[in-house]
């Protein structure tokens, strides 16, 4: 039994992860994961593009990552909403191949095609959408998608763009740790303070919430959008590559397939070490063997610096939340990397409490997204999330200084209003540079966008009065509107995002993805029609040698020749209607032939009985 959403459309919850993605929905008993076609709940966030342009996503793409590394990509979430200068470190550690023209928007080279990070994420989202549609037997158009709490505006915008490109209306972006708290059913306790520690494949978040009678109020959040299991994998991979070099006398690092095989081997060893005290990293590649025992003790020592990097943000978050460690009633663990015993003990030490690990840390975020989907569709009435903006928002003032308008950890939606005027007589434009970050100098913060107040009525300097409203919506995304107070009308604002796609670019991608989908469909239909044409052409060819063919009249034989030729003429056409039309005609022209053949066959059979 499923919830009737009052004639509204189904809304699914999606966890778009660095390593794995998954979708969930809400039924009467609570949130449920939607399995993929292969029965797996997790869809690896890996995309591979075949030479034909066919897209492979998930488990199958993870295999192709090894055999066709140059056509495959993983961990693309690390590139969402980022610029070329931001990703230099990433480029050293991950096999991302950037195409020329990545200066304004990153372009990934996959085989002979290029894709922006939101387009790659859109392919993962499309797969989840399809899985859901197959599961429900109906189209799914609306979704709640989760993002790391510490994602900045550009990273959120890029995620929203990915949803749009995938053909999904993104009703809400929800922060991952907050979503997890919804799934945990923590509101069973009336009131309390809860910390959510979320260490995933590529991102780390810590959020502290106050629960009060169904309201989940985030007090503070902190994190690192480039810290996660990936970093552990890269660390182990580097060590294993050095081992291989010294044992085989061969540098494997230039061999993409070898690197991907070794990477998989270290990931498997890492995962096993969460349950056993020692294990082997094993690789057998091109006739050579590599094996190394890894003890948890050494593993813990190796990853301590990575785990320690999560503690600073935790302390800052506790301070910002204005609570003491003793006041925190519960700690919840989210993300696959929280299976690591060292991570658990580090969290236990810091918070002086045994963390909750009852729910599957890979699934809890998607489940929470489904609960939020239920809230938005009206099916869940007793819960409400109040989230915060993770970073302060400011504008550039004289001398490259930042004037903060909305402080970090402000409950969203949050707004601020600021007045602007002109500096020169007759000035028609005012440019506002908006940045995000905690530092005092513009150069130390992250440029978000430039807003151009255009077509100001010419007047002496300082007379214009334009009131600009900065509003961070419930998705954590900035909206800017302006009013010309003298003229008493809306002031036009042109947005120039510093990173990421413009609205026009996203529209174009949506258009292209529709066209591509249509093109893919018509290509498939034409191929299917050609297969049918092959069958009938072969049958006719065979029949021409048959007695029955000679029993036909000249006109009948001429009609068959004509229909055959016409079918051959359109055989390579893109339009399957055309091919099918000619198949139909050939079919009609050969009706008599078929009858005759049937008759001769019967006659032959009768003769046979006489013998």
């Amino acid at each position: 039994m499923e919830i009737d959403f009052g004639g509204g459309e189904r809304v699914i919850g999606i966890d778009l992860g660095t390593t794995n993605s998954l979708a969930a929905y809400m039924d009467l008993t609570g949130p449920k994961i939607i399995p993929g076609a292969d029965g797996d709940k997790l869809v690896p966030s890996v995309v591979s593009i075949q030479p034909t342009g066919a897209v492979v996503v998930g488990n199958a793409a993870r295999e192709l990552l090894i055999t066709q590394p140059e056509r495959s990509v993983y961990s693309v979430k690390r590139l969402m909403g980022r610029g070329l200068e931001d990703v230099q470190e990433e480029l050293k550690l991950f096999p991302f191949r950037l195409a020329p023209g990545s200066e304004s928007v990153l372009q990934l080279q996959l085989g002979d095609r290029t894709y922006t990070p939101p387009e790659i994420s859109a392919l993962v989202l499309k797969q989840l959408k399809e899985n859901a549609e197959n599961y429900f037997g109906e189209t799914v158009k609306k979704a709640v998608i989760t993002v790391p709490a510490y994602f900045n505006d550009a990273q959120r915008q890029a995620t929203k763009d990915a949803g749009r490109i995938a053909g999904l209306e993104v009703l809400r972006l929800v922060n991952e740790p907050t979503a997890a708290s919804l799934a945990y059913g923590l509101d069973k306790r009336e009131t309390g303070i809860v910390a959510v520690y979320d260490l995933g494949g590529g991102t780390f978040d810590i959020s502290i919430l106050k629960l009060h009678d169904g309201i989940f109020e985030v007090l503070a959040t902190n994190g690192d959008t480039h810290l996660g299991g990936d970093d552990i994998d890269n660390l182990l991979l580097r060590i294993a590559l050095e081992d291989v070099q010294s044992e085989w006398g061969q540098d494997l690092s230039g061999d993409s397939e070898g690197v991907q095989r070794l990477r998989r081997a270290v990931i498997q060893a890492k995962e096993r070490l969460s349950f056993v005290p020692f294990t082997n990293i094993e690789l057998s590649y091109r006739g050579k063997q590599y094996q190394r025992e890894l003890q948890r003790e050494l593993f813990d020592k190796l990853i301590t610096p990575i785990v320690d990097r999560t503690l600073g943000p935790c302390r800052a978050c506790i301070k910002d939340a204005g609570v003491s460690v003793e006041q925190i009633d519960e700690v919840v663990m989210v993300g696959g990397s929280t299976r690591i015993p060292l991570v658990r003990s580090a969290v236990e030490n810091l918070f002086r409490a045994v963390p909750h690990t009852e729910l599957n840390p890979d699934e809890v975020v998607a489940l929470g997204a489904a609960v939020q989907a239920g809230i938005l569709s009206g099916a869940v009435q007793d819960k409400l999330l109040l989230d915060v903006t993770p970073l302060s928002l400011g504008i550039e003032t004289m001398g490259g200084l930042v004037s903060k308008l909305i402080h970090r950890n402000s409950t969203i939606p949050a707004s601020a209003t600021e007045s602007f005027t002109t500096a020169v007589d007759g000035q028609r434009n005012v440019l506002i540079h908006v940045v995000q970050g905690e530092r005092e100098l513009v150069k130390d913060c992250r440029s978000l966008a430039r807003f151009d107040l255009k077509d100001i009525d010419p007047m002496p300097a300082g007379l214009a009065r334009i009131e600009v409203r900065f509003l961070i919506d419930a998705n954590g995304i900035l909206n800017v509107t302006a009013r010309d107070l003298r003229a008493g009308r809306e002031q036009s604002v042109e947005v120039k995002p510093s990173y990421g796609l413009t609205d026009e670019q996203v529209e174009k991608m949506i258009q292209e993805s529709f066209e591509k989908a249509e093109q893919d469909l018509s290509e498939r239909q034409a191929r299917e029609a050609r297969v049918e044409a092959d069958t009938i052409l072969a049958a006719v060819e065979k029949a021409r040698r048959h007695d029955a063919f000679f029993e036909l009249s000249d006109e009948e034989r001429a009609a068959i020749d004509k229909a055959t030729n016409e079918l051959l003429l359109v055989y390579h056409a893109d339009d399957h209607h055309l091919i099918r039309n000619k198949i139909e005609q050939l079919n009609e022209a050969t009706t008599k032939l078929a009858e005759n053949r049937m008759n001769t066959a019967v006659r032959g059979a009768l003769k046979g009985t006489k013998i």
Binding site: G6, G8, I215, S377, G378, T411
Partner: protein, 188 residues
Amino acid sequence: MHCETLQQPPREYYGLLGLERRLNLSNQELQQRFYDLTRRLHPDRFMRSSERERQYSLDGSSLLNDAYRTLRDPVKRAMYVLGQEGFEVGEQRSKDVPPELLEEVFELNMALEEIRTGDDSVRGQLEKAEHNFTNLLSEVDGQLEGLFSQYDEGRSRDTLTQIRAALNRRKYIQNLVDEVHKTLSPSS
């Protein structure tokens, strides 16, 4: 489902929260009002409503959040009331040294200068100063509390003028404490 239609909410913080304009507020009451209102105003509740209602909900809840953030903090709350009553509450005023602190601040600045140039012998002096100023801060907070009650009873502009002076003093001392703290333990 929402049967009530959403109207544009009042823009004045106290009015929005349905509270009388008092400087001494019960945090518990404030929080309860905030939760009650946010349950009704939050955009999550209006996803399937008309465009105009969705806009009101977005405006209303951002205003409500701003109001709650301001009113739950005594200093911000007092600044807000001063602003509403037509007082100038600029940043510049906090830069004027309160005359009674002139001598102490002068000595403090000397010590800060010395420790920055590597003379660690003044550390003890600075730690003592930090302690003194922190005590002074609590003293000002005590004064403010008294002034708040006085305003709530009499509503006189005189009291507001005194409150503004105390706030400026407080801001000044807070800046000193922050600076000493930053100099003594740069990492935090």
